[in-house]
Symmetry: C2
Subunit: 206 residues, 2 copies
């Protein structure tokens, strides 16, 4: 995406993206106009084109940077593959939950607006999503190879686990019965069971 | 929703709903006009108001009938509560997967367009969703009470399991590596593990 250099231009570029995320999450991509985004940012409609050539590029930029941020954030805290598979899975689940519940609008758009990507852009986002799925797939494969995880189909378990974990972002609300740490603890325990690990339970419901 | 009586009027009412589901799934609720829906059905825009007073009523009707059909379809095949919890859970998982993968557009709209419901309509759809969640919650509670399921938090496990199962509808494609029956078998096995049941595995990945 073309951007004006310098800090004021970069701030506006970020403001454009944030405004677009808010508006698209609220109304849907097809219903949001470049004019609306410009108004939300407080720039002239014509000035918006200094930051993005068109709405499709803006959507692609939002979805791509979401996936790239997710992948690079994971890289920053990914445990080495010498660590036990159970500990690697625990780290992944904690990371995934924390990352997704603090970015509910981006997560929502990333699933909902896939249909509005151009074919080439869709292929690229799918590639990045697959890279992220493979992070979990590799941890599960490692555990299966070492005999600590026991599951029927690693790919299906990967997809099931990611859907289960990401689902938290649809119902989590700050100030609810469970805080982020309690939720992460529950999902770690459930993920280990889903992977067929034999692990001690937390306090159990009667 | 007001409907013309007689079979031709009822057919048109169904055609209106089907067209709305297709268009909303493709473009999003906010981007679809009553005029577009009328064009898709092949009636005059003015005639559409014989079938629905406005777009909000149409969306509410789509989401409400989706949930009502889901609940009544389950009632038709729900096992008695005298059946073993594992068998009840198996029946539920098979039902949920089959129902959701054959209605991908409706499922997509039911999650994505919650934000576009008026507050009163949202409350009613949430009530119906909660009734459906409670179907699974009750099976899990029954299993916990009988000591065949062991989990930390029944409500969290319920939400996790529904997200895991519904996620299939985002990636399932006819003609893929696994058919609907294989997928159901995997998800039954995973759901039993998630509920903390001790059950034999299917053939296990190396």
């Amino acid at each position: 995406m073309a951007r004006k250099s310098g800090s004021s231009g970069e701030k506006t570029a970020i403001a454009v993206r944030e405004a677009a995320i808010r508006l698209i999450a609220q109304h849907g991509f097809a219903a949001v106009s470049m004019r609306q985004i410009a108004r939300e940012v407080g720039v002239q409609a014509g000035a918006l084109y200094l930051y993005t050539p068109d709405k499709q590029s803006l959507l692609f930029d939002i979805l791509k940077s979401h996936m790239e941020d997710l992948l690079s954030s994971w890289q920053d805290e990914a445990p080495g593959s010498d660590m036990a598979p159970e500990a690697r899975l625990e780290r992944f689940v904690r990371f995934h939950i924390r990352y997704h519940i603090s970015r509910q609008d981006r997560v929502f758009i990333s699933y909902m607006e896939l249909r509005n990507l151009s074919p080439d852009n869709f292929v690229e986002i799918e590639r990045l999503r697959r890279l992220y799925e493979d992070v979990l797939g590799e941890i599960l494969s490692d555990g299966a190879a070492k005999g600590v995880f026991v599951m029927e189909d690693i790919r299906v378990t990967t997809m099931a686990m990611i859907a289960m974990l990401t689902g938290v972002s649809t119902w989590f609300r700050e100030g609810g019965r469970l805080g982020p740490d309690d939720i992460a603890a529950h999902y770690i325990s459930m993920s280990l069971r889903l992977a067929g690990a034999h692990v001690p339970m937390l306090a159990v419901a009667e």
